[in-house]
Amino acid sequence: MPWVTVSLFLPLAGVPVLLGWPRLSDRAARAVTLAVTVATFGVSLGILASFDRGTSGFQLVDRADWVSALHLQYLVGVDGISLFLVLITTFLFPIAVLASHTERHDVRTLMASLLALETFVLGTFVSLDLLLFFLFFEAMLFPGYLIIGGWGGERRAYAAVKFFLYTMAGSAFLFVAILFLFFQLHSFDFRVLAAHSGELPVMTARWLFLGFLVAFAVKAPLVPFHSWQPDAYTEAPTGGLLILAGVLPKIATYGLLRFNLGLFPEASRYFSHLVAILALVGIVYGAVVAIVQTDLKRLVAYSSISHVGLIVLGIFAFTQPVISGGVL
């Protein structure tokens, strides 16, 4: 049973139903979405059950050729870290659906956006192909933009555009880095890249590390790339905010852990002080600015910046207990 693929695309399967069904009432739309997200959670429990805790490495790997001319393949799988994050995600989405029960207009499209978002988010966690990861990583921006812009607060247009452009700008560097890696090592497969990353010249590895870092630093967010976040949090609708605050930072920290540490170990050590300082600054900065906030959502946003700083600090401290703490 290809658990991972099923859990990945099950939410997406709900989208045509929601958008295409004639005369679907709001209540029915919410019910369908809730059913789909709960089912996805159930499937992810199946992943958990099939997971062998004894072995290391990726499990439940599904593979298919997609665009062989571009060397783009569909390659997904889970290991200990991503399994945990998949479970959190599939657990949070039903709650987010429930939290959106106060939205009144165009419920169908909101629900469809949430489902699409779930698929793309899960995709980033389970992708073992770097290009596939990037596709999902970027694809998340569309439903995110729609949710903030369509159902958000007063300044939602500004917040949505800011969110979209800011994170996309960061990801541009990621894209270049991924392509560069491909041209050097001739594969997008993460396992292959991780095994051969030692063959890269040291300076190259460091630049690539920075490229990956920028994208994840914007997403996390790390100070000083955080400006999109308070506005996005403040203007986002409650259900969307749940995902925005609960899941997106995890994608960024997962990216740091998986790709920055996994592909560029020497560069990670080289830059560890820099990242640690950024993280520390974020912790203090986020907390200090949070003190004077009168808007509760903004306060939560800055508090989130502070906490993500703590996670990143943990990841780059490089000791095993710390990384486990960071994942938690």
């Binding site: 452009l165 800011y166 200090v288």
Partner: protein, 636 residues
């Protein structure tokens, strides 16, 4: 029997959960359920005590490992509870006094709109306090430590519609946080140097043959400087939690909370957590002489500071708050003298008589419609005889009149100070004792004697409130029996395997003389109190107007709040506001928006090429073709 220890914190936790989730349906019954939970926990504690007593006195350490909480490589922390004489004494105090206060609250909080929430939080507090005192490792202790801080915040802010209550709750949390942060660093240091947070491996009582002694620690010993650092950091946490100088400013304001909260949290239990911590980790303090001296000095100075400040308060609860600060100062002083069992004896006695005083105050407030201003009381002894009687017991206990418990504890501390040659400390402590008797006598004489200065009709409180008060009064009297002698008393001998014997010094005047002096000082304090406040011969209000600057200083706690406000709070808020509005909004955000505007500018400039006129496009086309032809001509 000893295996039941896990049940002790579990019962109040269940009570809290029930009250929290079914509060609306239970309404008034929430109070009974909560009291029963703590009462049952007390009974279980008694059973555990019996189990402990059944063991030989050298074998009285039992650790119950419930489950492994954090199994991350070398950092392995379990949910482990410890039964030893010290922890069981603390547990008995918390559950015993706690259950009486719960019962009192049933009557006191009747009619409160958030009745069940109050009891849920009160139960939750007892749960965390028990986790704190029963913990077998520093992490679990810290969980309890933070948990009681949280519940204190919630309960102080019970009347949150009042801005004073809301800010008092925040102040309590933030000030103790300062201490907690230092303590956390201390705990981290312990892990770094010992490789474990378990009491057995860090405090050196790994086996029965090895009494708490640093030589029993397994593995290489860290250097002396490390112990000083650890001890001082832990002390910082204790100072915050126990409201000692310089982190004492939160406690008087914490009186905004309901009086049972003041009785339980801010008199009998949470504030004594600091003393418990110091006594529990006394091994660290003894190795580092500096830290132990710090404990002594902080305790003594705080005791004097607070005793004097108590004299300047008109709000009866604030008097008791400063009194608590002062009494805990005495406990710290005792610990600094290495008389740990006497410190614990005072802790137990204080729990009884301070809770008693607070509950009696609550009784007064209950009948005077919430009045706390001493100037508006008077003559209450006729209207409220039971409350008067119990308050008198508390009064005499705190003044150190024999044979009540307060006398034994205080006398032994003073004796220890004198007999270990610390004459100056002894004199200062005696000075503080005089003022202790004085400030509490002042309250008694103003509130209960003289003509009534109010126009209300006070009445005695209902039995659900007076019964716990009476029981606490009995405790306040009887607790003295536990420690008639610092060396051979029941409590000191019971605690000896854990915290050692009180070393009897041999300097100074003999014990009998010291006892006479301390009793005389107590009686002197009462006498002066009678003269100034009770006899009616002196207009004390006019008198203090004459020494207005002195009185104002005492009334404002020697201006600590004002100094902290000017040095820390105002600049802190300014920095935060600056960072948020100038740095974040203008600079960081502005950078992003600037970038966007640059693009927009470039776009609008570029847009001008789109004139919509065909002749412009034709011209551009011509220029382009000419350019390409020139280029080709030059290249070839």
């Amino acid at each position: 029997m000893l295996h039941l220890v896990g049940l002790i914190p579990l019962l109040p936790l269940l009570g809290a959960v029930v009250s929290a989730f079914y509060g609306r349906r239970l309404r008034d019954r929430a109070g009974t359920i909560a009291s029963a939970a703590v009462g049952l926990a007390f009974l279980v504690s008694l059973l555990v005590l019996i189990g402990l007593l059944a063991r030989d006195s050298s074998d009285r350490v039992f650790v119950q490992h419930l489950w492994t909480w954090v199994p991350v490589g070398a950092f392995n922390v379990g949910v482990d509870f410890r039964v030893d004489p010290l922890s069981i004494v603390m547990a008995l105090v918390v559950t015993g006094v706690g259950s009486l206060i719960h019962v009192f609250s049933i009557g006191y909080m009747r009619g409160d709109p958030r009745y069940s929430r109050f009891f849920a939080q009160l139960n939750l507090f007892v749960f965390f306090m028990l986790v704190l005192v029963l913990a077998q490792n520093f992490l679990l202790l810290f969980v309890g430590w933070e948990g009681v801080g949280l519940c204190s915040y919630l309960l102080i802010g019970h009347y949150f519609e009042r801005p004073a209550a809301a800010s008092a709750a925040t102040k309590a949390f933030v000030v103790t946080r300062v201490g907690d942060a230092a303590m956390l660093v201390g705990v981290a240091l312990i892990f770094v140097h010992f490789g474990s947070l378990d009491f057995g491996r860090t405090l050196g009582d790994a086996t029965q043959q090895c009494p708490p002694n640093i030589s029993c620690i397994v593995g290489p010993l860290p250097s002396g400087g490390v112990f000083t650092a650890i001890a001082l950091l832990l002390l910082a946490g204790a100072v915050g939690k126990s409201a000692q100088l310089p982190l004492q400013t939160w406690l008087p304001d914490a009186m905004e909370g309901p009086t049972p909260v003041s009785a339980l949290i801010h008199a009998a239990t949470m504030v004594t957590a600091g003393v418990y911590l110091v006594v529990r980790t006394h091994v660290f303090f003894e190795i580092s002489g500096v830290a132990l001296a710090a404990v002594l000095v902080i305790g003594l100075v705080t005791a004097v500071y607070a005793a004097l400040s108590a004299l300047g308060q008109d709000d009866i609860k604030r008097v008791l708050a400063y009194s608590t600060i002062s009494q805990i100062g005495y406990m710290m002083f005792a610990a600094g003298l290495k008389a740990y069992s006497v410190a614990i004896l005072l802790l137990v006695a204080h729990a009884f008589y301070k809770a008693l005083l607070f509950l009696s105050t609550g009784s007064i407030m209950h009948s005077l419609d919430g009045e706390t201003d001493l100037k508006r009381m008077g003559g209450l002894r006729h209207a409220m005889p039971i409350t008067f009687a119990t308050f008198v017991v508390g009064w005499l206990a705190i003044s150190g009149v024999p044979p009540l418990s307060g006398f034994f504890a205080k006398d032994e501390i003073l004796a220890q100070a004198s007999q270990t040659g610390r004459t100056v400390a002894y004199a200062v402590a005696l000075f503080a004792a005089f003022f202790s008797a004085l400030y509490i006598s002042r309250v008694v004489f103003i509130a209960f004697f003289g003509p009534p200065r109010h126009d209300q009709h006070p009445h005695e409180s209902p039995r659900v409130m007076t019964t716990p008060m009476i029981l606490l009064a009995i405790g306040a009297v009887a607790a003295g029996l536990l420690g008639i002698s610092a060396v051979s008393g029941v409590l000191p001998r019971f605690l000896e395997p854990v915290i050692g014997k009180v070393q009897e010094g041999h300097g100074g005047p003999p014990t009998a003389v010291l006892t006479v002096i301390s009793v005389a000082v107590s009686l002197l304090g009462i006498a002066v109190g009678w003269l100034v406040y009770g006899s009616g011969r002196i207009d004390w209000i006019a008198l203090r107007e004459r020494i207005r600057p002195v009185h104002q200083t005492l009334a404002h706690g020697w201006w600590f709040d004002q100094v902290y406000g000017a040095l820390l709070v105002t600049p802190g808020k300014a920095v935060a506001a600056f960072t948020a509005y100038v740095v974040d909004r203008r600079i960081v955000d502005g950078a992003g928006n600037l970038l966007a505007q640059l693009f927009a500018l470039a776009a609008s400039a570029g847009r001008r090429l789109q004139t919509g006129l065909v002749r412009t496009y034709a011209l551009a086309f011509l220029v382009g073709v000419v350019g390409v032809l020139c280029y080709l001509a030059v290249r070839f």
